[in-house]
């Protein structure tokens, strides 16, 4: 067996096997059992080496792929000093998403603070309207005495009524602004699911890198620091909380709006 034979790789193994098979038949026919066993051992050795090399290349490729993927996830302009920090990019992605939830929560509360203040102003307008009514009755009394005030009472009453309706409409609009802040809950739940997913992908990658490092050590290609792994897959519960459904998903198992929910429950007698 030559040195070149040892490094043929998996592709060359088949042709080597064919060559050696005929050689094996020849030596066996010649009654040389020792040589036959040597040939078999050599073949075994070539097979193992080829296998190890292939696995080694595979894991190295995997490692590189994970690294470049993590670098892609990483936002540009960040320091990239440690190679083994490649997974860090994914953790950063989770952190950023977490920050989005935090930020929208803060902003929603600020909006609601303003709504509360505006509602207090609306209450004040209501109270002013009450005082206005007192003044108006005075105008009503004077109307009889002064020709120039004629019709003024009715017109002012009409204006007061309109203004009260405006205040009422304004209150309703402010309430809608308040309710609209529920987007923060909906988007927050969706983002949390993405964070969970990223975390799972991250821990799977850590596991793969760990595996790759072990294989690389065994195959003697290069040595990588092993990483810790923490991954557990939960069983799927059919009514497990899923968070907001995506609009336009059109799943018949999903109720689209409140009417669907009401129909479903009343059809079941609830």
């Amino acid at each position: 067996m030559t040195e070149a034979d040892l490094h043929r790789g998996l592709d060359g193994f088949e042709s080597l096997l064919q060559e050696k098979a005929s050689e094996l038949v020849t030596v066996l026919e010649g009654g040389d059992l020792n040589s036959a066993l040597t040939i078999i051992n050599d073949l075994q050795q070539v097979k193992h080496l080829a296998f190890y090399n292939e696995v080694g290349y595979l894991t190295r490729g995997l490692h590189e792929a994970i690294k470049s993927f993590s670098d892609d996830v990483k936002v540009q302009g960040e320091t990239n000093d440690e190679q083994d920090d490649s997974i860090q990019g994914m953790a950063d992605a989770s952190e950023r998403l977490g920050y989005v939830i935090e930020l929208t929560e803060k902003t929603s509360h600020e909006t609601m603070d303003r709504v509360d203040k505006s509602l207090a102003l609306v209450d004040k307008m209501d109270e002013q309207s009450g005082r206005f009514a007192d003044l108006l009755s005075m105008v009503g009394q004077l109307e009889a005495e002064f020709e120039g005030l004629r019709g003024g009472y009715d017109r002012t009453c009409q204006l007061k009524k309109e203004s009260e309706q405006t205040v009422k409409d304004l209150r309703a609009e402010l309430t809608e602004i308040l309710v609209a802040q529920s987007y923060q809950d909906i988007t927050g739940q969706l983002i949390r699911r993405v964070i969970t997913l990223v975390t799972q992908v991250e821990s799977s990658l850590v596991q793969l890198m760990d595996m790759a490092a072990k294989v690389e050590r065994i195959s003697g290609l290069s040595v990588e620091k092993p990483a810790s792994n923490t991954n557990q897959k939960a069983k799927k519960d059919p009514i497990e909380a899923e968070g907001p459904q995506l609009a336009g998903k059109n799943d018949p198992d999903v109720a689209c709006d409140q009417d669907d929910v009401d129909d479903l429950l009343s059809s079941l007698g609830f």
Binding site: I186, A255, Q258
Partner: protein, 128 residues
């Protein structure tokens, strides 16, 4: 309908708790307390005094559906009216919630009118 009853609103998002609290205030209910998941809500309920429970489903710690089941399993709390306000919208989930014993189910996002209607309906049933 007595407006001074104590209401517990359970949701892990402070935004949503505040929205529901404000809408309840519009309806005249001013005695509203909050909890951020089932785990913190349950001891508050067990202390007594709460007469109406509004809960989300998807929460860390203890989910809303587990909270509903725990409430229904507790002889002292079993009769409490419960409104579930959640983004969970699968048919199986809605059915499971109804079977667990919720008195109303509102999906997020909701309008002020829908929430008010469901709350009114629950109190009407209790009153009758």
């Amino acid at each position: 309908m007595k407006k001074d009853i104590k209401i517990l609103v359970v949701d892990d998002f402070s935004t949503m708790r505040r929205i529901i609290k404000n809408l309840l205030r519009d309806l005249g209910f001013n005695n509203v307390i909050e909890a951020d998941d089932g785990k913190t809500a349950l001891p508050i309920l067990q202390q007594g005094g709460v007469q109406f429970l509004v809960t989300d489903w998807n929460m860390p710690g203890m989910t809303g559906i587990d909270l509903v089941r725990a409430v229904r399993a507790d002889p002292k709390l079993a009769g409490m009216p419960i409104l579930m306000v959640t983004a969970e919208a699968k048919r199986e989930q809605i059915i499971a919630a109804a079977q667990a014993g919720v008195n109303g189910y509102v999906i997020k996002p909701f309008t002020a009118a829908v929430l008010k209607e469901k709350i009114d309906k629950i109190f009407q049933r209790i009153g009758s």
